[in-house]
Symmetry: C2
Subunit: 335 residues, 2 copies
């Protein structure tokens, strides 16, 4: 008995010693989980929230309920002058018209093929969405994702001259990592096409395909030479914007998220949904007020309009992140 106990005690001591020495060999833990965020109310509120829900006490949240949802365009990467997905769709549309001139009968396709900038500027989000869907229909999901990847590799942003994936926000990468470190499952819930986002989300954000929720076309199952494929139909399955976001969150996740991050009126209902949880929750809006480093737009913007959600954020004390004041850097240095 005595020998066994002594051996167990020795094992415990040696085990602790080994554990301590192996953690000393690992990379040092940064004292600041959000180094690109300036000291201020936004950063304090985020750190305070995560400390409360992960520590024993009345605000503790069981790990299984730690769900965070992020909009993509304008929240995780830039969205000006047009949603990047539409830049891809316009390039595809131009190629499609070159192969099939009858497509010129659709005014949006003709404007794009002619590079008629005035006519293109008049296209609204609905027109561009229709172009995007038309360029996707008929392709298998695998073909579409490969085209999106190839485009992301070669396309350059008109103002910054870098690949679009170099325009992800460094402070948000830190926030994603901080949430995951606190046991949160991080999802993208975006109006963007789900398969367009999956083409880069894992590499860019560390968000795997099963945690990407977006707008989608219906797909048709087909066997081609005995191998199954899914072909995009020319019909919308789900528009993941505005009130569609809570519906899709419930369909895909089945729980209300406790952390919701957006930047436009299209995110309002997702933030409201998260704020309705009986658990402590956190709502964050990114306010684009930095024309020098990125863009400045809100209530009157054609892309990423932020109006009602800004009023509600102020009324309900949600966190409004000033890109100018709260972010020391904007873009990730690792494209």
């Amino acid at each position: 008995m005595y020998a066994t106990t002594r051996r167990a005690a020795l094992g415990l001591v040696l085990g602790l010693w080994a554990a301590a020495s192996s953690s000393a060999l690992a990379a040092p833990v940064s004292a600041d989980p959000l180094p690109s965020w300036s000291v201020g109310p936004a950063k304090s509120a985020i750190i305070g929230y995560l400390s409360r829900v992960t520590a024993p006490g009345p605000d503790f949240v069981p790990p299984s309920e730690r769900i965070a949802v992020f909009d993509n365009d304008g929240t995780l990467w830039a969205e000006q002058p047009i949603y990047f997905q539409f830049a891809f769709a316009m390039e595809r549309a131009g190629e499609m018209v070159a192969r099939d001139p009858s497509l010129r009968q659709k005014p949006a396709f003709a404007a794009i093929a002619d590079k008629d900038h005035a006519a293109i500027a008049r296209l609204d989000e609905k027109d561009l969405m229709e172009v995007a869907l038309a360029t996707e229909a008929g392709l298998t999901t695998t073909e579409y994702e490969a085209l999106a990847r190839a485009w992301l590799d070669q396309a350059r942003h008109p103002r910054f001259g870098v690949p679009y994936t170099a325009l992800v926000y460094q402070p948000q990468l830190e926030l994603l990592a901080y949430l995951r470190g606190a046991g949160f499952k991080t999802y993208i819930v975006s109006g963007g096409d789900v398969r367009f986002m999956r083409a880069f989300a894992d590499q860019a954000y560390g968000v795997p395909p099963e945690q990407v929720i977006g707008t989608s076309l219906k797909t048709r199952f087909e066997l081609r030479d005995g191998k199954s494929v899914l072909v995009h139909e020319p019909a919308l399955e789900s528009l993941d914007d505005g009130p569609g976001k809570p519906s899709n969150i419930d369909l895909h996740i089945g729980r209300a998220p406790l952390v919701a991050v957006g930047n436009s009126d299209g995110d309002l209902q997702m933030l409201q949904y998260s704020a309705s949880s009986a658990r402590p929750s956190l709502q964050i809006l990114v306010h684009h007020d930095d024309a020098a480093r990125e863009y400045a737009y809100d209530r009157a913007s054609k892309v990423g309009k932020l109006d009602k959600a800004l009023d509600e954020a102020k009324a309900r004390n949600w966190i409004v992140v000033s890109m100018k004041a709260d972010w020391k850097v904007v873009f990730s240095p690792h494209p």
Copy 2:
């Protein structure tokens, strides 16, 4: 230098010793990961597959791609004499007619309210699905799940006299656990209503809500006294059966599953989809051939018809599990 190296070597040795002793303190690993499965080709094939894809070598599969999908009715729990969800819907329908006699204008509702067994027996799956949807429409997702939970707590199976959740298959619980232990993410992909399944899937199978995919109604986002709810619309969002299963797997998961388990023709496309993966994959069909302990049915069954999928399984050497021969016990002893 010498001292540092010696200390590092000592740390390594002590660390290994501590690791070995702490694993010796843990619960012993069972030599048999599938104790309720009889020795035979099905069990051997499953164990062989999981050994190959988790060990270094040409068949190794990266953990992120380890996705397993299971049908629910007839695959994870029983489905006779009618899908359990329909038993719930019929009870709800009876209550609805009692409150609102005008519903008797719908023949299915009248038959159910009158307990007209001959007329009920003539209802086909489409009729019963319509009844199920009608009993769900107008309820919030939270209300519906609470009703489903309450029903599951009090309802009893007509033949076995036990709660429906006592009719989950013990060998499948072991298979789910074995897959998870091998790093697989386990999903349910079923024709059943997604919110009905979520009412019990986590407790019964250890499958969290975000890993349950099913048939669903559209939902409408609403603010009620400032609190957001999702209300079921009387319209189908997605029928998760047959070719709808691969479409939903792609929409929700974004990768082809490597392990697919079903029991009826409604699972055929899901198994084909999984078999089309470039990675080593595993397809399993449960064959209900055990009238004594459960039920015996296949090609001519109204519920859970297994005909084309059985032929394809035989032609392609998929695993066909004989409930009678391959399962030592059928139902879980822990209701």
